[in-house]
Symmetry: C2
Subunit: 387 residues, 2 copies
């Protein structure tokens, strides 16, 4: 096991009828809030009204900043920062999925500095502090509700970049599984893929070769995500299935699985971010294309770890490590197919001819994330395995 510091300060309030707590939880940080949300979904679902009622009842004045899009963009973050500064808000409230939460984090960090917020993403500045953030989650996917990560796309430069900092952790996140009942099948599936991808980044790239405690935790989570996602797709209003999926997605990226692994990389996300930046594909849809391709590549580097994954997650017990690894990748890819998440560049509508351009775009992020072994040639060869 490698040395680590673990200090996740986010308070999680999980379960039915918990959204009404957003008012008192937010009021603890101030009386004027910037409310960040997406498109019309939360208005249709009644979530917007619930949140506004709770905030109003506790005397919190709300300034609205709606309209966050999936693959959230820098320009909208910048206007949010201006709005937060002009109105001198005390606290940011995010109601939505990962895109909304990530935008809110960027706004919360950008509102307390004079420089452009993009500098955080390209490593020119680090986040020293931020406005307090409370959240109501409406999508099981990104894990942003209990970590300090944020991903934003600079649409001028086609860069989808992410950065993490403990000062970006939400103070409070409210997770009511019923808030995800109306998530359609495609985004439910993409969310599950995203959560699995987060786990696999840690599982396969951890610096320490011997981490049995973390391994079993992660293997259990992958199994549970597949099981609960299957149950949700069969029965979208199954509370327990939605709850399991939601909690697993949080656990997949809240730092608990990674504690003790040492340095990890996020190569699958690096490649997917390039796809999202260039073609605006949903993050999870991009990942279900990249993950099997990258795992096939990784099976050549470390068949034993892939074989362990295949054995423990898919009960593949016969054959050489390489055989098991290949069967494991096939099983996961089959599951992505079964939940109708795309598994080839073509299914995303991305032409194979673009591979060099995609790789070049990924290379920029690879440099910032210090994925030193990923050069143009290697990224291209992985992308070919995704074709």
């Amino acid at each position: 096991m490698q040395n680590f510091v673990l200090h996740n300060t986010t308070k999680i309030i999980f379960g039915r009828d918990t959204v009404r707590q957003i008012g008192p939880e937010t009021a603890a940080f101030g009386k004027k809030a910037l409310l960040v949300y997406g498109k019309s979904n939360i208005k249709k679902s009644g979530m917007y009204d619930q949140v506004m009622t709770s905030l109003n009842e506790t005397g919190v004045t709300v300034v609205e900043h709606g309209g966050v899009k999936s693959n959230p963009v820098l320009s909208h973050v910048r206007t949010g920062i201006e709005c937060a500064k002009q109105n001198k808000v005390d606290v940011v409230v995010a109601v939505g999925g990962g895109s909304v939460l990530d935008s809110a984090k960027a706004i919360a960090a950008g509102a307390v500095v004079d420089h452009d917020v993009w500098k955080f993403f390209i490593g020119k500045k680090s986040v020293k502090n931020a406005l307090p953030l409370t959240t109501v989650l409406t999508l099981a996917a990104s894990g942003s509700e209990m970590n300090g990560g944020m991903v934003v796309t600079n649409e001028e430069t086609n860069q989808k970049y992410g950065v993490g900092n403990k000062n970006l952790n939400p103070r409070v996140s409210i997770l009511d599984p019923t808030a995800t009942f109306t998530v359609p099948p495609d985004y439910t599936a993409y969310g599950a893929v995203d959560a699995i991808a987060h786990i696999l980044e840690y599982y396969f790239t951890g610096q320490d070769p011997e981490t049995p405690v973390q391994d079993r935790f992660m293997e259990g989570l992958v199994i549970n995500i597949m099981e609960s996602c299957n149950r949700v797709l069969a029965d979208p209003k199954n509370f327990n299935a939605r709850a399991d999926l939601m909690w697993c997605a949080t656990l997949a990226l809240n730092g608990w699985t990674g504690a003790g692994l040492g340095m990890v990389g996020f190569p699958m996300h690096m490649i997917e971010h390039s796809l999202s930046a260039l073609y605006d594909v949903p993050h999870g849809a991009g990942l279900s294309v990249v993950v099997p391709g990258w795992m096939t590549y990784q099976a050549q580097q470390n068949p034993e770890k892939l074989a362990q994954f295949a054995e423990r997650v898919f009960n593949i017990t016969t054959g050489s490590p390489s055989d098991k690894a290949a069967e494991g990748v096939k099983s996961l890819k089959n599951w992505f197919d079964n939940i109708n998440s795309p598994t080839s560049l073509a299914m995303l509508g991305v032409p194979d001819l673009d591979i060099p351009v995609i790789a070049e775009n990924g290379l920029g992020l690879a440099k910032i994330w210090r994925l030193r072994e990923y050069n143009q040639e290697r990224i291209e060869s992985i992308l070919k395995l995704c074709a």
Copy 2:
């Protein structure tokens, strides 16, 4: 899944060469510290000197309160509270295992109130605040380093009682696996048993019958504790094995496994506390007697959950649920035997004739912990299964 709030604020610093951080981490809370520790172990091991050097170097003045015994006693806590009050300390530093940490928590809570500290344990008062606590852990067992629980024995009344409160969480806990290298085989084994018992209390008594995410996490932890304990007993200075065991023991009782289970009971601990209170047996040694007996009783109540445990932890795949459950209990008991932790009252030196007295003592705690289904007769019948 049941509703829950999860907010574990303890900062964990884990790994080699981390003890030297106790000075700066403690200084953040004040300049005068009460140092709580046990008998001579930390002086022999050099840990005492390391801690004192670090505290001194950061300008922290130390008032000492050593001499905590295993199954820590109320009288020693009371003198610690007097000492903390007289010296007006800002912060408490605990260096030791669960007994030391629990005593330090009781002192930290007792030092800020005017009433007797025992009132916290018998439910007459609740902990509203406490002096900040930092810890250096030297034994993988209790999980006290990352939770708000404390257990103390009132030696006048023979009551070993425990209570939990979020205000008792250590602010910072330092976990250096090398600090456990000198723990002898018996206490290493007892610690592993304690950690497994914590997991099983949650696993078998959770209110919600459907908690697959938490189940897999707990099953993985039990397997890892057995594996790492075996490795430690074979090779006491194996860093990775000590690290795995240490981290598992923390995870076993830091609230992560319990989130979503709803109400849980601690019936095995209730019965064991009676054994420790009356005969001063080591906690883990008492538990390895109680756990198989209680599980045999529980297999009659809920064979399916016992069978799941047997299947997933011990690969017992044939037979009826009751058959599997019985095999599972046998396998766990065999493992306790293998690591030389006692598995019968006789092996503890406790006469079967005392069963009524033990049950009566347990009953007092059963009332405070609201284990309503445990009356004198039931506790006696479980104790007979431990005989």
